[in-house]
Symmetry: C3
Subunit: 667 residues, 3 copies
């Protein structure tokens, strides 16, 4: 199964199903995802099940050779459940219980709701366990989506208390760890601890971080609750869940562990006002790299954009070639299966402008033809890449704990963990240097260069691991605010960067939040002239303690003190960047570091042309992706063997059309 589509037979008359199945087959579709929002249709009243319509749909598709992945529809409890047990509805930060009427109107800690799930999911799984056309399951849908403030109901409060008790054992331990002596917040029992409902000012930052961890663990536990049921009834089916890239309500590393593989929903064109994080080409690539990093193995795209997205507002329409381009990009970064969302634009409901491959009227048009052609081109060669991954010399450490800690205390209004991290990612991306996103549990030694941005919370085992990495010859980039706090979000009373000082070879005597304050740095470029560029958000004021300076501040009372340093430590090097860099000096810096680390870009390409590799047992495959709305021409090494896109080659050059793609094999 290499290409699929998300399909909602329950939205269409039965007689259309055959038409759809034939059109799918013609386009090369081999798998569908079904039923993930259809609880009401499968259990119209408590204990009365009707799977017959779904049996029929699966069979109709099966007749065309199309397999089915089923979703557990637990993101949409029907009204009769809510009517019976309104306590399932989630409560927001104001203490207001939300209403039925959308989706995700459920509290994930609620035991009554879990019992409804147990009854229903067990029945559903049992019913489909032996259906030969069913191959696997998706649990729920996009966990954490729609739960902006997380649920703050009494059930969650009790679950939070239990979670805290498991973590801290005694209330004294919690009091000491959180520093509740501040503002007289000392507790004498766990059940006194508030969930972070609105207070006259701010909650304790340690409580807030534990709340975010608890909420993440709750989702992991909620998934496990369903996984256990499905695995028991359907031991031969795979189980996955559809992630959402940089979405951060759940620690996806944790959520991944229980799954056979992870899936991801990739929407390059978003329907809301553009969010910086999502609106750049490098962010799309970074998203896919993060998803691959979850289990360091290939993954599915469970929802690959197939048209304009939209709820109340809409994205622009994907330009001709972009649906293909994005498909190639997903595969290039490690997807083995691409499932498009959705088959046909729905005629009703909140998502009627979340366009499918087919338009509302159902006749194949441009999007169908483009996807059909893309599948036709890729399907024969997918086996070559299968199981392969990009070959990366650079790792960037991604940490949900750091992300949450900066949400709780952003320091500067505009400081954002993910944007800071993407600043580094972008420099590698534009230099055509593949990157892996890694968790702190993964192996660092395979990377020539490791970037650990904003290592704000530190813990001894991670510090040791980094020390060992550098000792053994690794090159490490650390950035501002490293080593400030322990893992419980309280400050370590040491000179910064705390336990990282030895490998960084610096001391930070002071720091300056660039809140309405201007600062810039000077980089001694390889040419005759220096570059000076604005920096932002923060400035560490650094004293060298073994390290040497690579760049200097250019303004205010700490002018001419070091802003970027490098420290040779045993076999390796630690770089420290005391501020948030602008694009130009970031580029200079990464160029410098990459050379030092002996890392080679794949190829020089015109701006906007992404190039990356995917290396399987069959060889190393180079994907070339033109993200520009105009053709791009450039040289291709003589020894690269075209796999797709030979037609674009003229002599030793490739002439890619707008949004055009090609795949080569290197020797």
């Amino acid at each position: 199964m290499k290409f699929g589509v998300d399909y909602y037979p329950e939205h269409w008359p039965e007689e259309r199903w055959t038409v759809d199945a034939k059109l799918m087959k013609e386009a090369g579709i081999e798998v569908v995802r079904l039923a993930e929002f259809s609880w009401a249709k499968m259990e119209p009243e408590e204990g009365t099940y009707d799977f017959s319509w779904l049996d029929k749909a699966i069979a109709t598709l099966g007749k065309e050779g199309i397999k089915t992945v089923l979703g557990t529809p637990t993101a949409t409890p029907p009204i009769w459940i809510i009517e019976k047990n309104p306590e399932i509805l989630p409560v927001n930060q104001e203490g207001i219980r939300l209403s039925f009427g959308g989706r995700h109107h459920n509290c994930q800690s609620n035991q009554v709701y879990r019992n409804h799930i147990k009854r229903f999911v067990a029945s559903m799984a049992k019913h489909f366990s032996n259906n030969p056309d069913v191959v696997g399951w998706q649990i729920d849908n996009e966990f954490g989506n729609s739960h902006q403030q997380l649920c703050m109901c009494d059930s969650c409060r009790t679950a939070f208390h239990q979670w805290l008790q498991n973590k801290y054992t005694t209330i004294d331990n919690l009091n000491n760890t959180w520093g509740t002596t501040f503002w007289s917040q000392t507790y004498s029992s766990f059940d006194q601890i508030p969930v972070p409902l609105r207070t006259p000012n701010s909650h304790n930052p340690s409580l807030l971080l534990d709340w975010k961890r608890f909420s993440s663990d709750l989702i992991v536990d909620f998934q496990k609750h369903q996984l256990n049921i499905v695995r028991k009834e359907c031991p031969h089916h795979f189980v996955t869940h559809n992630f959402m890239g940089f979405f951060d309500k759940t620690n996806y590393f944790d959520l991944s562990k229980d799954l056979d593989f992870i899936s991801h929903d990739q929407y390059p064109m978003y329907f809301k006002k553009s969010i910086e994080m999502l609106s750049h080409k490098h962010s799309l690539a970074a998203t896919l790299d993060l998803m691959r990093g979850m289990k360091q193995k290939p993954f599915w795209i469970m929802e690959q954009q197939s048209g304009p997205s939209g709820w109340e507002t809409m994205s622009p329409t994907p330009r001709p070639g972009q649906l293909a381009l994005w498909t190639y990009q997903s595969i290039a970064h490690g997807a083995d299966t691409i499932v498009y969302f959705r088959w046909r634009s729905c005629l009703f409901g909140t998502e009627e402008y979340w366009h499918g491959i087919l338009p509302h009227h159902g006749e194949p048009e441009r999007r169908y033809e483009e996807i059909k052609q893309t599948i036709g081109e890729l399907s024969p060669v997918m086996e070559m890449f299968k199981g392969g991954l990009p070959d990366s010399d650079v790792g960037i450490l991604f940490s949900y704990d750091q992300e949450w800690a900066f949400q709780i205390q952003p320091h500067h209004y505009d400081l954002n963990y993910i944007n800071h991290l993407l600043g580094y990612y972008k420099a590698f991306y534009e230099a055509n240097i593949p990157v892996d996103m890694v968790s702190d549990e993964q192996d660092f030694m395979k990377y020539k260069l490791l970037v650990v941005p904003l290592l704000f919370l530190s813990k001894p085992d991670l510090t040791s691991k980094l020390e060992k990495y550098v000792s053994d010859g690794g090159h490490l980039i650390l950035t501002m605010r490293s080593g400030v706090k322990n893992w419980n979000n309280t400050v370590i009373p040491k000179i910064l960067p705390g336990d990282l000082a030895p490998i960084a070879g610096i001391k930070i005597s002071e720091y300056d939040c660039l809140n309405d304050v201007s600062q810039s740095i000077r980089w001694f470029s390889s040419e005759l002239f220096d570059k000076v560029e604005q920096v932002s958000k923060w400035a560490d004021i650094i004293t060298l303690d073994g390290a040497e300076a690579l760049a200097f501040y250019a303004e205010d009372y700490y002018k001419d003190t070091p802003a970027i340093t490098q420290n040779i430590y045993k076999q390796g090097i630690t770089y420290y960047v005391g501020t948030e860099l602008g694009n130009d000096i970031m580029k200079e810096f990464i160029c410098y570091v990459v050379k030092k680390s002996n890392i080679q870009p794949i190829l020089q390409t015109p701006k906007g042309v992404e190039i990356t590799n995917r290396t399987s047992k069959n060889g190393k495959y180079i994907f070339i992706l033109n993200h520009n709305p105009k053709p791009e021409v450039f040289y291709i090494p003589y020894n690269w063997e075209p796999v797709i896109g030979q037609r674009f080659l003229v002599d030793s050059k490739i002439n890619l059309p707008p949004y055009g793609t090609a795949v080569f094999k290197t020797k």
Copy 2:
């Protein structure tokens, strides 16, 4: 009764009433509106009525020949009602019951409240039914004002269920119509259906449209509840209600039907930060045209601005001449009676900066003199215009259903039904071509040109009516997003513009929401040079199917495809505009269309000088309104006979002072 004023005798000592009455009479005032917020004074405790003060006030005014219109004070239930029945207080979208302390603190579905109204309004009506100075009634005040989110209490929920049951008869019918299979929202009984309280994400768009219709109908029904009482007790009195122009909580066409005539509150200078819709001269004219369109007959201005408006903040002060100008404008567009709001600036309460004709201190000043002079000038000639209406060749269809549908799904962040419509209105306004605003129930055949903007929701009878209109020689302008949905807000699975395709002669294969995307169009102007101008919000990508192109897109992959088309259909022409035009090409386009439709502007005037006609059985009267803060000079046709403003004529030219006005009669 041609001129009146809104008066609050209860705010002033009784001895002042005589002074006020005399000053009113001197200014030419013939009618007052009284008592619309004075429930507490008329019924200080349940069942104890005191109308004596009002009798006295009416008599004092009557002695000066001034008649009275009474308001039912149901927008301000007294505290003793709220204390007894707090369930009358409205509930907002968060589920929070609002507090007593302002006005409109009432739920319009609440039966207990309706009973209070029944008791009180019957007593009041009975008491005044034979008072010879009382001539009519205003029901409540500005329905829908202050109900931003509509009431979401349990009583409204029950009323909504009843409304839905009346509309859909069976729950299956509702489920099928709304497409509740989407996200498992299927209902098994009407009482399960939520009111749109906050959910984790979005409600079903069909539910939301029905909710808006229900809320509108509720207001119509609430009015009828009072109307029945008043009509029964006072069969010889007229009954009206004061509307608020483009305000859209109620379908004013529906609200109009039960009234003898409609009234309108006209405030050209608003106290809040300027709202685009209201801040332009053409919007003021459009507002009046919409009000005239309600019953296609003359109306009252029940509140004509008489000074700076203000609550917590204030508008600027109307410039000398503007109060007169706005009075002329109201009459020009169809008002037969002008009632100024208010007599004297109040000394207390929320509206103490909503300035009256008299200032706080009560001595006549500039505003009193200006209004007195205006009345003196107009009063003798009002009879000539009476009952007359503007003579318009152009109709613009206004639809509350479309407005609501675009509120629910604006498509593009800045797309707004009324602003889009006003883009067309403005082009006619600036060309001095009178326009009627029409509902879809009114006769189209009287117009040479009909503009139907954003005909998003379509219904067969309206489609047929438009087809017949064009067939019989009408010229029709349709715009983007036409024919997308049925009247229940779900998508029609047809190639766009759906059932309108035959008369438009086009097919829309794709569309592009201009969300962060640039687009422009090229108009082949009559000169040698083309005009290219930015468009916004949306671009339909059009294939000609009989039509010909008038303008073309100028950017991106659909460059050079049609953006505006014209299609000769039987005896008429359909124009289709696939995007939202800028000012320049809108002007070119309307100029082109107007010529084709053989429509003549009244006269060329300098920018900022409005000219329109009002045609009664006595002849056609031309109103000239200089909205500019400077004099304007221009030619007047030799055969126009001055009615007002002869003093401004010099030879064949008129020299209007700043904000000056004149009226002519044509032969």
Copy 3:
């Protein structure tokens, strides 16, 4: 006691206390504030007291000669109180009860809470009454902080009713005073009156002003409740409270009356996005002048900024020299004692980025050295200034009632009472003319010039006082919107400026809110050329009635009418400014007025160099404060005798380093 520090021994291990005490002593610290947030540690469960740790801490500090001020910890009721009496938690404007988890989570009217306080504070006060190291008390902490919307619970509602009954005696009196006849808001008993919870629109402005006064009085009463306890137990201790400058939830004049002296928390660098009011040098000076004005005597700084401030976000770091500079500035404006906040940056809790003198790691660094040096320099000479105050010829009247009235009705979106007032302050500040901030109860006669900005609410005794002031030769500046309303926030029906008209010699026939309207004025400068400058917010249209015009409007229909007037009244002069001036004409105007009033600037200094005086029984001391990040050189009068900063003198010039300071004595 001249220098102190806020210290939290409970945040640090006991063994550190000795180290801290020694470091404090070395730095010259003589007093600490302790325990103001430590209820939970002193009363871990109801009725069980543990003051032993605090005894120990006090003794440890006492051994180094450091005295203690104790805070009553009533801003942080422990969780066991909230658990037992959740009704103590405050309720916001939506009617939502806030949660435990921050601080100030208490309703100040709640009797149950007051009983808890009575029990605890009595025990605490009794325990420490005879401790020789304890010298005084701070009641609670920063009253009003964190109570953005004030508490709207049932207890506050009842207290509000009682307050209203005390004020108005009868409900008829209240109805008449508030004008409740408007919108039928007439009450028949006090207990019907709402607290200003959210309504469909706006509450009565008189109710809103009384609500703000009630809330202020409630805080005064809450302080008195504690004061009585402390004074009874500790008759020999002083009692103070830490104010927050222009913070306006409480009328600080009222709050001051019950205190021995007031204290103030001075934070020149704020952690939130810059607020105009706070971000200018002149605002810092104005804040201090307001604090001095409370009791017209010296005060304490209870929290003087000692490092970057921060909660979730941070301020920049104070530049080298700024901590010293701000210390000098506080003393220059009347502080006798400077207590720095805080000793050491906390390792946990909401304020871990509110940096202390010591950094998190506890080793003395730059900030410690700077403060130590500052204390070393100042300590020997503090006795000279002690008890002295600046000698000011100018008074600016500050009124909480006016501030509240403009919050309720700002008239123009951007009109703000304090910013308007600071416009005048700034002109004097930049001209090096010292200013006193005075309440309307204080003596005006000592000032050559009195500025009364926005005297919106007027009352007969104040009007008389001002009339007498001018009659007797005083120069008075009045500004727009004077004399509009009575003290109960309803309009006085007189020609403006109402009762102030006689002394102003003008009549205001109209006014124009500059809401989206442009206006400017022309000042006839002493040179050949006029100045024209934009004005904003408001324009009074003035008719001279004895006064003469100093400046004229330059736009629109009231062009060339007076904008600023002066009126010779008996022995004095009244100026009236009918608009909000820009910087340039404000400067011209103040320069003109100052000359007329025969007021001398202390000295001409470069921009950014503040100069002011503090005059004690020992003489007149001149403080020079360089707020610029660069050195400034200028002449010093030959007869000024250096007290501090002699090293900066070169011949007759002073060469101040960046942020440098000096003190001179004049003869």
